[in-house]
């Protein structure tokens, strides 16, 4: 009995860890889409952040420098996208795809010389999971809490970002204005909101968060450099934004669920249950497909995307 419980606690703990890069990416994508920009460059920005974070970690051995560098490079990728789609009004889908291709190429190029290198023990200790031995003494509640609390600081940062983003979107004037920008750009403009500024700020913010998501993979989760380290997580995040109805609070659950799907393969193999490993590895992508289908069936307006998502805005056009 205790063995099964331990197994589940362990499983959920690693699900939280595996979900953390997704969490950052989902919230990054939410900021983009609330500003009315469909950004398919999430994967690219994650890769930029992953390589920048890893390189900075290797050369400085400083966790803050590593995170900062991931933020900056994620945001730089977003800046290219913002300049093209907001200022030059290019097609958002094409621009996003181009950003993903650019990001993965850039990551491959910059990561070449550090391929397979592992971060030093002295660096990794900054991201060791916290432990709260007293939790084990509390029945039922203890193990549940330990799933979420016995985690590294980066994961805590993820919780904070999700909750702060929720407060920002739903309880501040800026968040209200942002929702108006994506919800009806012309109306927001007529109310006197600076559309261009809002779009730039939030696309860049989103880019920085995606960069962090990528860095979590290369600096904490793996933690070594390998090619295509994100393995399509940026795309899963794009789909999960729909699943979470553009709500940062729900993003917490979405990330946990998909983190679980991500690692369920390893766990089942460790139990010696004969399931085709390729099938198991396919699960997150299969589930993403399901999520999109379910998302398109739910017709309540609460689950609708921001109305002006994907539209370039010209003030003069009617």
């Amino acid at each position: 009995m205790t063995n099964t419980l331990d197994f589940f606690v362990l499983f959920l703990k690693s699900a939280v860890v595996a979900g953390t890069p997704l969490l950052f990416a989902i919230i990054g994508a939410i900021y983009n889409e609330k500003a009315g920009n469909l950004n398919l460059g999430i994967e690219g920005m994650m890769l930029l952040g992953a390589v920048a974070g890893f390189q900075a970690a290797l050369s400085t051995q400083n966790p803050l420098a590593s995170l900062l560098s991931a933020c900056v490079f994620g945001a730089l990728g977003a800046l290219i996208y913002a300049f093209l789609t907001v200022t030059l009004r290019t097609n958002q889908v094409v621009t996003g795809l181009a950003l993903t291709i650019f990001g993965s190429g850039m990551a491959r190029f910059w990561g070449q010389n550090v391929m397979g290198q592992v971060l030093s023990e002295s660096f990794s200790r900054y991201f060791r999971p916290l432990s709260f031995p007293f939790l084990a003494k509390i029945p039922i509640l203890g193990p549940i809490l330990s799933v979420f609390l016995e985690q590294d600081l980066f994961v805590y940062f993820g919780y904070a970002i999700a909750i702060l983003s929720g407060i920002y979107l739903y309880n501040t004037r800026w968040g209200l204005n942002l929702r108006a920008v994506g919800g009806n750009t012309a109306a927001a403009d007529a109310s006197g909101i600076n559309i261009t500024l809002y779009k730039y700020v939030h696309i860049l913010m989103g880019g920085a968060l995606c960069g962090l998501g990528g860095a979590y993979l290369s600096v904490v989760f793996v933690p070594s450099w390998q090619e295509n380290i994100t393995a399509g997580r940026g795309w899963i995040a794009v789909a999960l934004v729909i699943f979470t109805s553009w709500n940062p609070y729900k993003a917490l659950w979405g990330a946990l669920l998909f983190g679980g799907l991500d690692i369920v393969g390893f766990r089942i193999q460790s139990l010696n249950i004969p399931v085709n490993q390729y099938f198991l590895r396919m699960l997150p992508y299969l589930a993403t497909l399901m999520v999109i289908i379910i998302g398109s069936i739910r017709k309540s307006s609460k689950h609708n995307p921001p109305k002006d998502l994907g539209n370039a805005y010209f003030r003069e056009e009617r």
Binding site: L176, N177, I193
Partner: protein, 513 residues
């Protein structure tokens, strides 16, 4: 009348390229007055108010707000000066609540305390005696409610000068009355209201003074109580106009369309059409009256095969057409034109020119793979000349045309197809007097040719004058079908509100049939 002058415009000129939109216009609006700007389409009304609301700047002339000469350089600046513009197309975010829309872009501490903010909005509402559910989302609101949100929004921002651009174009008579009530309240509390319109009876009903514009010039400003509809029309059009519709006698022909117990379901399983039955004969115009959203659109769309029928029959020349595709229905001679609220007609492609829009209904009849534009071009020229459509050329994308002209393209195409049943919804929506009467004449012409016309309209006066019979809808049900000579406007209003025709008194139904 020694009230303070809120807006004073002198010798305003504005040109766009070669077009002189405004020439030496003078306008003065005082505290506590409702000032109507009257003029046909293209008379320069919108240009003029856009200069007050900061969208355009005048080429010459002066504007003074509250006695101070100003140069209004942006919409934001206009708001700061206490000028609030309520656009014809509402600028509201659907997924947000009324309160949230009102609070958009407001300066203040970053954290939003909804209770406190709502309290502030409520104070404004109390001051102007307005009522509204602030937590209701815009997407759940009726058009008139949305309009109230727009009005409250500018009031909340401290506007003392309100400009309304054709506010009644989308309202029912009852809603219009309510709006006028609100406006009268506003001016009592010290606001000034400028209302743009081309509906004469509304000018007479609501305004204190009226300024008539014609071809970019201000013709004159009159006290409304010293003028009448006939004089205003003459000033507006520039020549005497006959305002009555002469109904040509109906020669009721064969039964053309017979609808039996038609029902249809809308979103969430609500019945949008509930057991509708009516007949339509050749050579008659059957009018359909009702509050917006009573099932008018669904009637049009079920008959033309665009909307699924739950049960019931639609017999066209004896044949049940339920279940046929739209194309098969068109082939049988049924034409439908629906002008929605945003007026970019259903069935037209905005980025295509007139020729290609004609081709949309033409190409199926052509043999082979390639399309032949020759006939479509001839058709486009014919429609343009017949309906006097103002366009730089038939090769211009129709989105560049004015709303009225786009409507004419749609109606023209449908009529040119020589249908035996013509369904037309709101064909004169937003048109000026001249253009509207053109359309009425066209419909009567069709009727005389033996076409059955189903006319879905808004203006009850027009329905009474134009149609042979009128069917009234309320919540998807037919509340009455009557000869239009046998009912008054008030009677129609009661039917629209859900009274049954048998319950009406003789006062509103002079002759029962």
């Amino acid at each position: 009348m020694n009230r303070p002058v809120y807006v004073e415009m002198k010798n305003i000129c504005k040109t766009f390229g070669v077009i002189r939109a405004n020439r030496n216009i003078n306008l003065s609006v005082t505290e506590g007055e409702i000032h109507a700007l009257l003029g046909e389409n293209g008379a320069g009304k919108s240009t003029l108010v856009n200069m007050i609301s900061g969208i355009y700047t005048p080429d010459s002339g002066s504007i003074a707000i509250h006695g101070k000469p100003v140069r209004i350089h942006s919409p934001r600046h206009a708001i700061e000066l206490g000028i609030g513009m309520i656009h014809q197309h509402f600028k509201l975010v659907d997924v947000l609540s009324a309160a949230e829309n009102i609070l958009l872009a407001e300066e203040g501490p970053p954290l939003l305390f909804r209770k406190k903010a709502t309290e502030k909005i409520r104070k404004v509402m109390e001051k102007y005696e307005m009522e509204m559910d602030l937590s209701k989302k815009i997407e759940e609101m009726a058009v008139s409610e949305k309009q109230n949100v727009e009005i409250l929004k500018v009031l909340y921002r401290g506007a003392k000068i309100l400009i309304l651009d054709e506010p009644t174009a989308v309202l029912t008579p009852q809603e219009t009355d309510k709006l006028f009530g609100i406006l009268r309240n506003l001016v009592k509390k010290g606001c000034a209201v400028i209302i743009i319109t081309h509906k004469l009876n509304e000018v007479m009903a609501i305004s204190d003074r009226v300024t008539v514009l014609r071809q970019g010039e201000s013709v004159c400003t009159l006290e409304t109580k010293n003028t009448n509809i006939r004089q205003l029309t003459e000033l507006m059009v520039g020549k005497p106009v006959d305002l009555s519709i002469v109904r040509c006698p109906a020669e009721k022909g064969k039964l053309l369309l017979s609808v039996h117990h038609l029902s249809a379901l809308g979103e969430h399983g609500v019945r949008v059409l509930d057991d509708i039955s009516f007949d339509l004969y050749e050579g008659e115009i059957l009018g359909v009256a009702g509050v917006a959203g009573s099932g008018q659109k669904e009637i049009c769309e079920t008959i033309s095969g665009l909307y699924p029928v739950e049960k019931g029959e639609i017999l066209f020349q004896g044949e049940n057409i339920v279940g046929l595709t739209p194309r098969e229905i068109i082939k049988r001679g049924i034409s439908m034109s629906f002008i929605p609220e945003d007026r970019l007609g259903m069935g037209l492609v905005a980025s295509m020119d007139m020729i290609d829009n004609m081709l949309l209904k033409e190409y199926v009849n052509q043999p082979g793979v390639s399309v032949d534009r020759r006939f479509a071009r001839e058709k486009a020229v014919r429609v343009r000349d017949r309906l006097d459509i103002q366009t730089p050329g038939i090769g211009t994308p129709i989105r560049k045309l004015s709303g009225g002209n786009i409507q004419k393209v749609l109606l023209g195409r449908e009529i040119d197809a020589k249908p035996s049943l013509l369904i037309t919804a709101y064909p004169v929506r937003g048109l000026d007097i001249g253009a509207s009467y053109n359309i009425y004449d066209l419909l009567q012409e069709q009727k005389q040719k033996g076409v059955g016309v189903l006319y879905i309209g808004e203006d009850l006066d027009v329905l009474l004058e134009l149609c042979d019979r009128i069917m009234v809808l309320c919540n998807g049900k037919v509340t009455g079908i009557t000869d239009s000579r046998c009912i008054t406007k008030e009677g129609l209003g009661l039917l629209m509100a859900g009274e049954s025709i048998t319950a009406l008194t003789e006062e509103v139904t002079p002759c029962k049939l």
